[in-house]
Subunit: 156 residues, 2 copies
Amino acid sequence: MDLDPQTDLHFTRTLSVPRKLIWECWTSPEHIPHFFVPRPHKVTSCDIDLKVGGRFNTTFEVEGKPMDNHGVFLEVIPDEKLVFTDAYTEGWKPAPDPFMTAILLLSDASDGGTTYTAIARHRSPETRQAHEDMGFYGGWGTVADQLVEYAQRLMK
Amino acid sequence: MDLDPQTDLHFTRTLSVPRKLIWECWTSPEHIPHFFVPRPHKVTSCDIDLKVGGRFNTTFEVEGKPMDNHGVFLEVIPDEKLVFTDAYTEGWKPAPDPFMTAILLLSDASDGGTTYTAIARHRSPETRQAHEDMGFYGGWGTVADQLVEYAQRLMK
């Protein structure tokens, strides 16, 4: 994938969880609340229609205030690639002021683990910088930690 | 489909051409130049990778000046639904200032014809109005006329 350092953020990590389980956690409304936002923030609802153009809607509770996030999936390749964005809501309705497009890439790592790449693409260098300043690396890194912790509990 | 009169433009027509052929014309780089922009404007190149996230790039010649249009397909359901936009280029790179998302819907009409619906969704009422002022109805209507004329020649 041809990334643009001006507008994209990304990192790759090896997670000690099989990619089938990572995929399941990232695409199931019952799993999402367990890892999807850095604690103590909370996911209070999650509505998923897992298909191209299908909805990926969540509500967070951030310092006691609800925050609605409406988006869609752009690409769904089971166990391998998930692309979603807030640039559209269901029915391909363009959002007035989208923030980002996220790409998750999963591949096999040694010992049954997963090579996990998270990419956030933005439409301008300013939006990319705002996302970095909001704590992209720490936030998405914490989500990856929480995901591993939660998935390992499911494996037991 | 839940349309929004504030931000969407659309029309439906019955075309006396089978929908398989309409689909073929709309998705083949060799057919596109024959109908895709109102004459005397010209399509001088067309590059298509017909899949979700695949490129839909064209160059027009408008009053002697080349105009590049880069976009992707968002949804591809053969003979039925085609969604494309300039909001992304290949690899899900968000465009800084997208104009619209187009949805073509094809279904069977009587006598082997096609019910043809063209929808353009915009991110703001201002963009919708700009598109109407640019001549959405006339332009897309002329494209539909040119498409029927061209496709009927292919049928002979």
